[in-house]
Symmetry: C2
Subunit: 494 residues, 2 copies
């Protein structure tokens, strides 16, 4: 009966998570500025309710008793594991610290939204300092309780079991190899023709929805909206993805949508029978990012997909059949442009890991207290010079203020992007082996086999296995850089 | 210190109410159908959390101790009164019944949304029966705890202190007088010219926002969206109003927006210093409806407002300056058309109270158990025949299924519409006395004086006084039908 008690109790936690997810989405998509303070308080309250539930003293007893129940099936056992993990992490952090963090992070993010366009580092420094102090406090509490170094304790919250021990050698290899790959890619690339016209937002949205549907997004259980920054939010039966539109460049928005669609397919493909239970949630953020990058980078920026998509894009914008700008070849040049730049989210996949390395190094120093908020701009500039040869001095907006993460309390999150890129490349290699006609299917716009493969290999697994376990089960190997580097060489150097 | 404890505790309740309000809004405006089950569970969970908080055993002790504190100011005392009221009502209903009601009502509403267009009474009968059984149960619990008859106990939840004893003589007078007013209005009215053109949704929305802004809606603390049915939701610093658009009739949507703007101005005008506290909330639903009807019926459908608005409307839709269809006189004919019909929300204000009487009589019988769901269609048809001379047999869609209320658990709510209409007429008479140049100001599109008058008389009062007290303080009289009947005779018979 203790397992049943746990199950019922965590169903109620899931119901609170639903509210948190929807309020966060609404904040980014709909909320008028005057609603910000009340929203911060409400989200803090929900964080507190969820935390109180997860850390409830009875949960520990139920876990111990459930473990003694003989008739649990493997999924139920995995669910108890996930519940215990959540319980241990929640117990480690006092409820007041949880609510204070939620409130500080929501308000800091709101400040960031107005300060960033003004390039106003001074306005954000104090709220960021407060958010970081709370993050350090959380890291210390979690580290002590879980026997982890403080930074690893934060990381583990985004990608369970991940540690600097796994990341450091991988990132070192990338840091050493990528500059050469960047140079070779720059030398090999051919300039694309610009896409002609101004691109009306309504048409862009229609096109995006057409391709989302084609990839398998279920609009009965999700929607596409507009926000300042593309993201995938919501819950598995109500997935909310967002994008933004540029009248000059329809591919920017489109690839953002295809990226978020990868996230969304993962959410929509989670095991239905485990809705609302911890074991039924998506895995770590590295695995989540692998799903978006699989779709966007491995599939949709590739030549086969663009062969399928080129006429659809051209017709969506009333392009000329004879215009070479709309050819699959030209779209491929645009989709695979390598351009070292300031902005992580605009970066190509060759330079992207260098942006992550910079952030990974700075946030480790911040958590360790070896660096303060005031030190960030100089460290940022030094890193951008060293890794990408770009001087960012005086530029906060497209420098250390460009990403929302630190300003909303997400510290220890950045490495998951690159771990996701590595995983995506490994998974795509495995898919190509398992599905011999994959290239042809993609070129025909037939994604069913691929989607089923992803569903079986990753989506339907939920949290019944960890990321590294899944990588091993699907690819037979360990997480590493070789598949990723091979992919880069193939696509960018040829 | 007990007052402080109460204050802090109810702030946290307010934070949960914020989440409930936003999730309900999102459900009506954004949610894809597949998200319905999870949403119902989440809303049920939040209802339960709020209920557990309000009914917490410690609250009773804090109330008793707070009452003994000598240094409370009148607002703090009124806040304690409101808290006690909420506490007593919450204690009366078991948490399981609250959650079961929330869940059943959300699911019944979802069924209603698909069953209504199909005219499918059978599909809705069982969920409605379940919802009604739960409403009867709530009425019995509340009635026993508060010493009220079951129907009055429900009514009191929507309009505190209201009872059949107050309503019955008022409604009897309307039932007796209105048929004669309807006949006289039908004889007196002049047919309007139709408005020429098809009306693009984007233009309608722009026009609506222009007039909302003009009336004083603060877009920094609110927004306008589209839903199946117009409503005003959200919270005072983030008010969400909705409408729907008809390409054939731009006034339908516009008056709906102006109606909801009346609700919204009330919310936005609530006392800032009491945000999140019970005394800072809007009053009963009759008072709320008085604010929407004040704006829509008393102000915006009147000749002075239409003199101001006619050229704005004409220009918004590119109408011809010489076209008499766009004259204030013709718009006035449209705005004051009397047409006995099936649909309450489309009804003019002369026949509207008869729609309410029908519902009031049926829902009393339902709560008393004198009538069951199966009896509703026949009773509906009999009432529509008797009051409006309309045969509705076989028509469920535009008969008893037309309103969402019963299908979402709102039983005892309908009378507040007509009480609101009476109150609006009384308040407008008082405003016209206090503001001698009111007609001129409205005709010039200057609403500041009127808005400040409403703010001082009603909005800023919050719940520090009851509806009947406010009516008395502002008008010097009691709630009654005379001002309303005089308004009807003036506008519709002349």
């Amino acid at each position: 009966m203790s397992y049943a008690a746990l199950h019922g109790w965590f169903e109620r936690v899931g119901n609170v998570r639903h509210a948190q997810a929807m309020l966060s989405w609404d904040e980014a998509v709909n909320m008028p500025p005057g609603g910000g303070v009340a929203r911060a308080e409400s989200l803090a309250e929900l964080a507190r309710v969820a935390h109180d539930r997860v850390s409830d003293t009875r949960v520990g007893g139920w876990i111990a008793d459930a473990r003694a129940e003989a008739d649990l099936d493997p999924w139920q056992r995995a669910n108890v594991d996930q519940i215990e993990r959540a319980w241990l992490r929640a117990r480690a952090v006092p409820a007041d610290l949880v609510a204070a963090s939620s409130r500080a992070n929501t308000l800091c993010e709101q400040t960031w939204r107005t300060a960033r366009p003004r390039n106003d580092w001074d306005a954000i420094a104090a709220p960021l300092e407060e958010g970081l102090a709370l993050a350090r406090e959380r890291a210390a509490c979690l580290g002590a309780a879980l026997g982890l170094a403080p930074y690893d304790a934060l990381l583990d919250g985004y990608e369970p079991g991940m540690s600097r021990e796994v990341i450091d050698p991988v990132f070192a290899r990338l840091k050493e190899t990528l500059p050469g790959v960047v140079d070779a890619a720059l030398a090999a690339q051919r300039d694309p023709l610009p896409l002609p016209g101004a691109f009306e937002e309504g048409r862009q949205k229609e096109l995006a929805e057409t391709l989302m549907r084609r990839l398998g997004f279920d609009f009965d259980r999700g929607r596409l909206d507009t926000s300042h920054h593309p993201f995938c939010g919501g819950r598995p039966d109500d997935v909310r993805i967002t994008t933004r539109y540029s009248a000059a460049d329809p591919l920017e928005s489109l690839f953002a949508v295809l990226h978020e669609t990868g996230h969304a397919l993962y959410e929509q493909g989670l095991p239905r029978e485990w809705r609302g239970q911890p074991v039924g949630e998506s895995g770590g953020m590295a695995l989540h990012e692998s799903q978006s990058l699989f779709m966007e980078r491995q599939v949709c920026r590739g030549a086969e997909f663009l062969r399928f998509a080129a006429p659809i894009l051209r017709d969506a914008f009333g392009g000329d059949r004879e215009d070479p700008a709309w050819s699959a070849d030209n779209l491929g040049r645009i989709a695979a442009r390598v351009r070292p730049g300031r902005i992580r989210v605009d970066a190509d996949e060759v330079t992207y890991p260098l942006h992550i390395t910079l952030r990974y190094e700075i946030e480790q120093a911040l958590v360790a207290g070896e660096m303060d908020v005031g030190d960030i701009p100089a460290a940022w500039n030094a890193g951008m010079q060293a890794y990408l040869g770009i001087d960012t001095s005086g530029d906060f907006r497209d420098g250390p203020m460009q990403d929302v993460h630190w300003f909303t309390g997400l510290v220890g999150y950045f490495p998951t992007y690159t771990l996701g890129a590595l995983t995506a490349a490994q998974l795509f290699e495995a898919a190509a082996e398992d599905l011999p006609n994959l290239d042809d299917a993609i070129a025909r716009g037939d994604f069913e086999g691929l989607r089923e493969w992803l569903r079986a290999s990753v989506h339907s697994v939920g949290r019944s296995r960890g990321t590294l376990e899944i990588v091993h089960a699907v690819t037979g190997g360990e997480l590493g850089v070789e598949a990723f580097l091979a992919h880069l060489r193939r696509r960018y150097i040829g």
